[in-house]
């Protein structure tokens, strides 16, 4: 028996869970129901999806995902760096503390922010206590970005941390030995060596951020729609699977393009990456 047969279950799994749904999306996106009740090939769905109404939502999604990713990187890198370089014995528990929220349900975590940010919520009560005016914290872009950052930050920290801890300490010493002060060591050795982790982190934050729909609905309110909400609406409420598929296809292409772009920046050939 050839060894490759052992991969058969995996192949079947992939076919059922990945290729079949993708083919279905392709099929629905390029078809429509004819008046006779049959199925006809058409490009209308795709063309309609490029209506400014929808591209505006798409652009907003891309922008918010970009902002959230940037904030995650700015917050996550220092955290990952400190965790990686800390000599404290509590590092593991700190790391677990960081991952802990991920074990809770995603929606539950996001609902928790409602309680915090609501007009009569914890933060505003605190403001009132301090004699400050109430601030509208929910149902705006900031709340959505906050939700994204909160939910996806661990996905930025973990890959960067895992790359940073693997950096050969002798390479750092070699840099010091060759005359680099600590800032130069970071700039010329540590950061370049951590780039694969940064790339992975960016992908792992950007992709879910751009496709999210629950966060925007809960924290952004119904008036604040992202592309993910748009797709969800088409399937659940409008029940137009053909148009929903066309939108999904556009999203898919967008994600693939952004992955290809980030991969191009990642010059490292081996090691360091999560996959």
């Amino acid at each position: 028996m050839k060894r490759s047969y052992f991969a058969l279950p995996y192949t079947v799994w992939m076919a059922i869970l990945i290729f079949a749904p993708m083919l279905l999306i392709l099929f629905y996106a390029f078809t429509d129901e004819s008046a006779a009740g049959g199925v006809v090939f058409t490009l209308t769905n795709i063309i309609e999806a490029f209506d400014p109404l929808f591209t505006g939502v798409l652009l907003r999604s891309v922008w918010l995902a970009f902002v959230a990713t940037a904030i995650c990187l700015l917050l996550g890198y220092p955290v990952a760096y400190m965790l990686a370089r800390s000599k404290s014995k509590n590092v593991t528990s700190l790391l677990v503390l960081f991952i802990l929220p991920m074990w809770m349900n995603f929606l539950l975590r996001t609902y928790a922010w409602l309680v915090l940010l609501d007009n009569n919520g914890l933060l505003n009560s605190l403001f009132a206590l301090l004699g400050l005016d109430k601030v509208q914290l929910l149902y705006n872009q900031n709340a959505v970005v906050l939700g994204m950052v909160y939910n996806f930050l661990p996905f930025m920290v973990l890959p960067i941390h895992s790359v940073l801890v693997k950096i050969d300490k002798y390479q750092i010493e070699a840099a010091e030995d060759l005359g680099a002060d600590s800032l130069t060591v970071f700039r010329k050795v540590i950061f370049p060596l951590s780039v694969p982790g940064v790339i992975t982190g960016i992908m792992m934050v950007f992709v879910p951020a751009i496709t999210t729909f629950a966060i925007s609905r809960l924290l952004g309110g119904s008036q604040f729609m992202l592309f993910g909400d748009l797709i969800e609406n088409q399937f659940i409420f409008v029940q137009n699977w053909h148009f929903g598929s066309a939108l999904s296809l556009i999203m898919l292409v967008l994600v693939l393009v952004s992955l290809a772009l980030t991969n191009k920046f990642d010059k490292a050939e081996d090691g360091g990456r999560l996959w």
Binding site: D168, E173, D177, L178
Partner: protein
């Protein structure tokens, strides 16, 4: 090699948590010499090197370079460069950028960097390898890059931490010769760490033998080999027969049930001593012509010579001989006064 003391360590100790890695080290390194720190693993030789490089701070004592105290100076400001045990080449940079690293930090002129890196790569025999990355090089080539990367900065001292440990025997021999050549051309002081006594003997001007964080002996390779100060040094440097004996009076020692003439004096009368005889210093003769006699227990062919284990009753001698003997054969030994080394017994 001048007489100037380039580096001086005064009463240097280093303690990690509860382990004493170095105990009160006093040592000077002369300008231009090849000094080797030799000892078994865990003897503190690498710690000593890391103190010199600045990666570790001494718990006690001061380190001077060119007369100035550099104990608290961070590594990047020291005029020393290190060749690491596992080379520690920058994975994200190619050969040229690895070697140019130090020069770029000094913000030298681009053309000068190019010229100096080029000539250094030529010196280590890697001309034309500029664009390769570390993973595309063999162990020996990586080692050369590591050496070039350190030397291109024209350091006052080059520190080498077991740089040849990961190479196979033939490559190691070649690199030993090359390192010696490079040093002769550049005249830089080398501080070399190794646990390989043969490497230490062939390459060094001065050998510092260490054990358990303490210096056992400092001397030229010839001194260390011929006049080991104690049984540890004798055993670590080359092979030795070490046996207990009694110094009857000056120039007369008794061991193996017989009194021998020797060249040592000053131990007092009837003093317990350690006697060291090198295996190659024992001459094997017919049993009736020997000073002591024994039975050959085993014969090992070693290439150049045979290694015999000869049981004389109270001690089993290791003997090197070019003539072949067979197991069970009766043989006699002649040991000349010159070949008997007397030392104070090591502490139990």
């Amino acid at each position: 090699m001048g007489d100037k003391h380039l580096i001086e360590l005064k009463n240097v100790s280093k303690t990690f948590d509860t382990t004493e890695a170095l105990k009160n080290i006093n040592l000077y390194i002369r300008d231009g010499e090849f000094l080797t720190l030799l000892g078994p693993s865990g003897c503190g030789k690498t710690t000593l090197l890391r103190l010199l490089a600045g990666f570790e701070m001494p718990t006690e004592g001061r380190i001077f370079m060119d007369g100035a105290d550099m104990t608290d100076m961070p590594p990047h400001r020291r005029r020393l460069n290190t060749v690491f045990q596992r080379y520690a080449l920058f994975e994200h940079l190619n050969v040229f950028d690895n070697v140019a690293f130090g020069l770029k930090i000094k913000k030298l002129d681009k053309d000068e960097i190019k010229q100096r890196v080029g000539s250094m790569l030529e010196l280590v025999g890697l001309k034309g390898y500029d664009k390769r990355t570390a993973s595309q090089l063999s162990g020996g080539q990586q080692q050369r890059v590591a050496i070039a990367r350190a030397l291109v900065n024209e350091p006052g001292v080059l520190l080498l931490d077991e740089p040849l440990g990961a190479l196979d025997l033939q490559l190691r021999k070649d690199m030993q010769i090359e390192l010696k050549k490079i040093r002769q051309r550049l005249g830089i002081t080398f501080v070399f760490v190794t646990h390989d006594q043969e490497e230490a003997l062939t390459m060094s001007d001065t050998i510092v033998v260490m054990k358990d964080g303490e210096i056992q002996q400092i001397g030229t390779p010839v001194d260390i080999y011929n006049e080991p100060k104690n049984a540890f040094v004798a055993d670590f440097i080359g092979e030795s027969n070490i046996l207990g004996g009694t110094m009857l009076k000056d120039y007369s020692v008794r061991f193996s049930g017989r009194t021998f003439e020797c060249l040592d004096a000053g131990f007092g009368e009837n003093a317990d001593v350690d006697v060291v005889v090198r295996p190659e210093d024992i001459k094997v003769v017919e049993p009736e012509n020997g000073m002591i006699a024994g039975v050959v227990k085993s014969v090992l062919f070693m290439g150049v010579h045979y290694e015999l284990l000869v049981d004389t009753g109270e001690f089993t001698y290791q003997v090197h001989t070019t003539a072949k003997y067979s197991e069970g054969q009766q043989v006699g030994f002649v040991i000349l006064p010159d070949d008997i080394h007397i030392m104070r017994p090591s502490e139990p």
